[in-house]
Symmetry: C2
Subunit: 234 residues, 2 copies
């Protein structure tokens, strides 16, 4: 057994640490997601990119800082914003932050490309070389979104206010990484009372036009489901 430090030793004030707030913005992009990267000034004028970030301020809530950073990068507020954790290992950060507090933000499909030349959307499969900590943060962000998918209305934040059920299913397929069964998907959606039809239809090339729906949750699921034991890794 280890020797135990006296509790009063822990009363010492925390040392001062360099802390950043880093934001992963995600938006649908074809059959995958894209994330917004900012050009990092580089003395050797190479192409270098990084996540939008800023130093944490003691006079500002972390959520507010993340929202500010996201608005600066996007020109608009993301449709959803949530913290995914603090990253404090030895991986390098572009601002030399000891600790980075990361947020993930969702942006509805069809967002305009960032106006300046300093930010751009990159498909997740085609991310350029990044500071190591940022690479880790992006991976964690995608995983966090996937894990919360059926508890939080994430998919609807990645779509405009009205959308087709095929659009919605496509988002779920991107996030889950696998195809879903169309009839089952719609049945589950119906019993969950999550969407309501509008009186508009959208024609997409050939084929029958699809009805547009809006997100309009009606019922509170009491979730009396059994245990699932979907345990991963050990």
């Amino acid at each position: 057994m280890r020797e135990r430090t006296s509790p009063t030793a822990a009363k010492a004030a925390p040392r001062r640490t360099a802390v950043s707030v880093d934001v992963v913005l995600l938006t649908p992009h074809g059959k995958t997601l894209a994330t917004l990267l900012r050009r990092a000034p580089d003395l050797r004028s190479r192409e270098r990119w990084m996540l939008p970030w800023d130093g944490a301020r003691t006079d500002e809530m972390l959520e507010n800082a993340a929202d500010r950073i996201a608005r600066d990068a996007l020109g608009a507020a993301p449709a959803w914003l949530e913290q995914i954790g603090a990253f404090g290992d030895a991986r390098r950060h572009p601002g030399e932050a000891d600790i980075s507090i990361a947020f993930v933000g969702l942006v509805a499909a069809g967002a305009p490309a960032p106006v300046g030349g300093d930010e751009a959307w990159f498909p997740l499969a085609d991310i350029p070389a990044l500071p190591p900590r940022h690479k880790q943060v992006i991976d964690t962000a995608f995983e966090a979104v996937r894990l919360r998918l059926d508890q939080v209305p994430i998919a609807f934040r990645l779509l405009p206010p009205t959308f087709t059920l095929t659009d919605l299913q496509g988002i779920y397929e991107i996030l889950l990484g696998r195809r879903l069964h169309k009839a089952s998907f719609r049945r589950a959606l119906q019993t969950a009372w999550l969407v309501e039809p509008t009186d508009e239809w959208r024609s997409e090339g050939r084929g029958r036009p699809a009805q547009l729906y809006r997100f309009a949750p009606r019922k509170r699921r009491v979730s009396r489901r059994g245990v699932r034991f979907d345990l991963l890794g050990a």
Copy 2:
């Protein structure tokens, strides 16, 4: 649309911030969970408690800091340890930390009571007045454990190496906050290949003795489940 700051403005080094690492240790306690609190020295010699915590050090990974704090408080390593996020709102922290990075640790049932008089287990329903940020951290910790319950073998970390299936079901019922069906629970457990029986039995008062099992996952669940739409709150 907001005026956008130049990207180079974000290149300024983050300011120095007081950061703490705070640990929520959880263990089963009757029909609920208990968390370990440490006595906070108070000048007016009132009873004041807080979570075990320490200042973050720049020469130490956050996970290592949490593990060290947990070992100091417990006298032993917790069976599981995971970060639950950074808390940086205005709520007061006992060390005046601007930002607290919180971890949750699981301790198997039957852990010995902490040796010194400075730490004690408190049932979740009976937590004394705490620094506001610590109250929030404990609530978040319990919620984080509940949400990860069917993705990570959390319940098994709250039990000793061998346990009865009734013990295991009890842990799930504590974490889910509702009763489960015994036969269904055992069927799901069987098809998941998560436990294997030992050749020991345990007699608990009257009734037939229960066979002891150990956690021994055999199969990797490929998880081809459909979407569930268990969306909460909006």
